[in-house]
């Protein structure tokens, strides 16, 4: 009989620990983003908030959504999807800031 392909996947995510650690990290990042927003650092406020939000989203994507243990195809899919969203933003602002 054929070997089960999904054994590869099964071997990866069996421990509770990593998820609890990631959850703790997400909570800490939330606290940091609230604390930073309280300080007056001008235009860097938006940048910091978005950087922290992106780190949090990265953690959720890779660990909670198991992208880390999926095949490469999934990662390529996600990157392409995000790239197209990025292109929309880039083109919009390229158009918008010259009006």
């Amino acid at each position: 009989m054929e070997k089960h392909e999904h054994d590869y996947y099964h071997e990866h995510s069996h421990s509770y620990g990593i998820y609890i650690l990631v959850w703790l990290a997400l909570m800490v990042f939330t606290a940091i983003t609230v604390a930073v927003a309280g300080m007056d650092i001008g235009r860097f406020t938006v940048v910091t908030a978005l950087v922290i939000a992106s780190i949090k989203a990265y953690l959720v994507l890779t660990i909670f959504m198991h992208l880390r243990s999926e095949t490469k195809t999934f990662v390529v899919f996600v990157i392409v999807a995000l790239l197209f969203l990025g292109i929309s933003f880039a083109l919009l602002f390229a158009d918008y800031s010259y009006q």
């Binding site: 069996h14 509770y16 927003a37 908030a49 939000a53 989203a57 909670f64 919009l92």
Partner: protein, 207 residues
């Protein structure tokens, strides 16, 4: 030989990777749905930075941060319910799914109080109070209601989806050897969480 015959007749075709990939493709359409709204948000924030700043002061940061924590915790319990089913701990998985649903309800209840407080202050789409404000502030609250509202709809959908999964786990349709449905419900739930991760700083933390 007879064992081979047996396994062939008992063979149920499944494609878990294909199933998850289908879910991801659906999630990309969700990403672009919300992405379009984030585009509108970014243009108007660029256009009316002052008004957005003033309008955001009306929002309760503590309430927003609290709801962020609630949603992040629900994402944890969702992920744990999948680990539990992988380990064959059916009851633990069900408990984790029920906690996730409870946290989703908790999030919505907070949202309800948050919105009613705004309504109470006369800030709702089309209200006299809101229309007397500057156009930037009107746009901010318009986006606030549409984006958190659409996100709230996703929370409700996700909640029902997880409830169906809980029923399937109880009936042992979702088991240690077949749990891709639960994984896909989890993927949806985590996406809802990611969207909130961006909504929170963009609406509550403009200083």
């Amino acid at each position: 030989m007879s064992s081979t015959e047996h396994s062939v007749s008992a063979h149920v075709h499944t494609d878990d990777i294909g199933s998850r990939m289908g879910m991801w493709l659906f999630l990309f359409t969700e990403l672009l749905l919300f992405g379009g709204m984030f585009l509108i948000y970014s243009v108007y924030r660029y256009e009316y930075p002052e008004a957005f700043h003033i309008a955001a002061k009306e929002l309760n940061t503590i309430m927003g941060a609290f709801n962020t924590a609630v949603l992040l915790t629900s994402s944890l319990t969702m992920a744990l319910s999948i680990v539990a089913i992988q380990r064959g701990q059916k009851n633990l998985s069900i408990v984790m799914q029920l906690i996730t649903i409870f946290l989703a309800i908790f999030f919505l209840v907070n949202k309800y109080f948050e919105w009613s407080a705004k309504f109470h202050h006369g800030i709702y789409p089309g209200s006299e109070e809101l229309l007397s404000k500057s156009s930037g502030e009107i746009l901010f609250f318009g986006l606030y209601y549409v984006m958190t509202g659409l996100h709230g709809v996703h929370v409700i959908v996700g909640m029902f989806l997880i409830a169906v999964m809980t029923r399937m786990t109880r009936k042992e349709i979702i088991t240690k050897d077949s749990y891709v449905r639960l994984e896909n419900a989890g993927l949806y739930w985590h996406l809802v969480d990611i969207i909130w991760i961006f909504l929170f700083p963009l609406f509550y933390l403009i200083t």
